[in-house]
Amino acid sequence: MSTITGGVAESEVAPAKRPLARSSLWRLAARKLLKNKLALAGLFVVVFMFALCFIGPLFSPYTDNKIHMALMNKAPNLKHWLGTDALGRDVLTRVMQAGRISLTVGLASMVLSVFLGSLLGAIAGYYRGIADQVIMRIADLLMTIPSLPLLFILGALLSEWKVPTDYRMYIVMLMLSFVSWPGLARMVRGEVLSLREREFMQAATVLGLRDRRKLFKHLLPNLVPLLIVIASLNVGGAILSESVLSFFGLGVMPPTPTWGNMIDSANNLIDFQQRPWLWIPPGFSIFATVIAINIFGDGLRDVLDPKPKK
């Protein structure tokens, strides 16, 4: 972390002399990342999945989602590469459309939980005292309650409130970030606790800087590498959680497709045994996306986090 500190502090003292000082860490990181072939492969798969899901449907002739009784449950063929489902819809198109929702939910709930977790963790670690006590006790409390039952209850509430299916995905995002912020806050708090005792923070205090400036200009930039790593690994977790919820019918509901609720067709014995093209493609999409995100996130950790990985 000390390299960044040096970079930020120097560039603030003499920005005209050394304009590259601020970016040197990031350049170094990028150069190191380019050498890590596994991480690059992960990044490539992530980009490919995003492109497939967001651009792919534009080239599909079956996006209207109309019901074609004549085309019910056809096995994969030349016209429908992954076959059709019980309503005669093209499975490949639906997998891509479902990917849009699943990836969006994963990303958005990551952004929300990282924002919530790092804000609360930073406040707790920086101000300590009462704020720390209140925030961390709530986090401890939420962490004692098993997350799956908690999500089930929230999902049941969702069904009761008759939330329109279009809006359900937003509430699923909220639910997932509500469950995952305590762990994040705890990690960020620990990091802030150690950072705030460093010499550069003492220097900032001696200079008479205001709290807000110290927090946002000096403390948070040092947290960015950690946050990037946490965030990238968190997306995979969120995609997995969403798929579990939707599989059990408590997340995003059909007709809005997600990878999780598409696998739900495996709950039907005939579909499960005789029509694997209905539920295996979405499952493999989840697997491929999450493994790629995790490998890329781990590569980022190697590059950005100087501490040895455990």
Binding site: T144, P146, P149, P276, I291, I295
Partner: protein, 318 residues
């Protein structure tokens, strides 16, 4: 040490009390209840039943009554099964424990072996392969891999039974019974081991790499000890020391069952019982289960903290 444990115990009890209130309110807010959902009952009978179960009392009073019984070790009566929750738990929890204990054993065994070898041959092709497999294991959607293996191994190839604990209608006893259970256990154990192995192998590999750089390893080699002895007696022992804190975190998983795996494999464990009861809104059972997990989690965390302190006297927790 004494004061530390006392403080930790007090905090644990406080957190548990708060958790019980939160759990109670959450289930009180959950829409629907066991009586409303039953269409066979007349409105009069429903009101009568509410009176009997005390569901028409104010929330706080209901919490008080529930807590009073819970503190006496009584989690109430399951509405759907008409048995005490505690009896039901006792009936199902051991099936969950069997599954969890066997898969935990395999997870640790395999993770330690692979972790040590991968660390010893860091950056070799084996190490790279292990890292990729670890990531794959950590990225598996549990329900999907379960379904996938059932489809391949049980439905298509018919090697193993697809679910349950015993063949339907079986009345095997003795060795035949044990063999049947083992055959039914195989698939869920494989999946649970797969799911758990990734992070543990990573952890042990990381610890081993750190330990192998220590001076005492060089000393051990300089003394002329065999490489095997250096690796397993000197290095592994020290690498496993921090892992004892993980033992505490295993506690909820050991006794709390696995909701997803037990549901997919139709295993008669406590997680499956919870999933069935959730649809029926059998609140005494649901609350009992959630509180049980909360207790196990809190005790597990406390155990980890204490074990960590015992294992490494340099650590001074407040």
């Amino acid at each position: 040490m004494g004061t530390f444990i006392t403080k930790r115990l007090l905090y644990t009890i406080l957190i548990l009390l708060a958790a019980s209130l939160l759990i109670f309110s959450l289930y009180a807010w959950t829409p629907g209840d066991f009586i409303t959902g039953n269409i066979k009952l007349t409105p009069e009978r429903k009101a009568e039943l509410r009176e009997i179960y005390g569901l028409n009392k104010p929330l706080l009073e209901r919490y008080g009554i529930w807590m009073k019984h819970a503190l006496h070790g009584d989690f109430g009566y399951s509405m759907a099964q008409q048995k005490p929750v505690f009896t039901l738990f006792n009936q199902y929890i051991w099936n969950s424990f069997l599954l969890a204990a066997v898969s935990t054993f395999f997870t640790w065994l395999i993770a330690v072996i692979i972790g040590v070898v991968a660390a010893y041959r860091q950056y070799s092709w084996f190490d790279t392969l292990v890292m990729v497999v670890i990531f794959a294991a950590m990225s598996l959607p549990s329900f999907f891999i379960g379904l996938f293996l059932i489809k391949i191994l049980a439905v298509d190839w018919k090697w193993l039974p697809p679910g349950g604990m015993l063949t339907t209608g079986s009345n095997a006893t003795g060795m035949a019974y044990a063999e049947e259970v083992v055959r039914h256990m195989a698939l869920p154990v494989i999946v649970m081991t797969l799911l758990g192995i990734g992070s543990l192998t990573r952890y042990i590999r990381g610890n081993m790499i750190d330990v192998m750089k220590q001076d005492y390893i060089r000393t051990a080699r300089a003394k002329g000890l065999k490489e095997r002895q250096v690796l397993f007696t000197h290095a592994l022992r020290n690498a496993l020391l921090p892992a004892i804190t993980l033992v505490g975190f295993e506690l909820p998983a050991l006794f709390g069952g696995s909701l997803i795996i037990e549901k997919i494999f139709n295993w008669p464990g406590i997680g499956q019982l919870y999933m069935q009861s959730f649809g029926l809104r059998d609140y005494p059972l649901l609350m009992g289960f959630t509180v049980l997990i909360a207790i196990l989690t809190v005790i597990g965390t406390m155990l980890s903290d204490i074990l960590y302190r015992v294992a490494d006297p340099r650590v001074r927790l407040q």
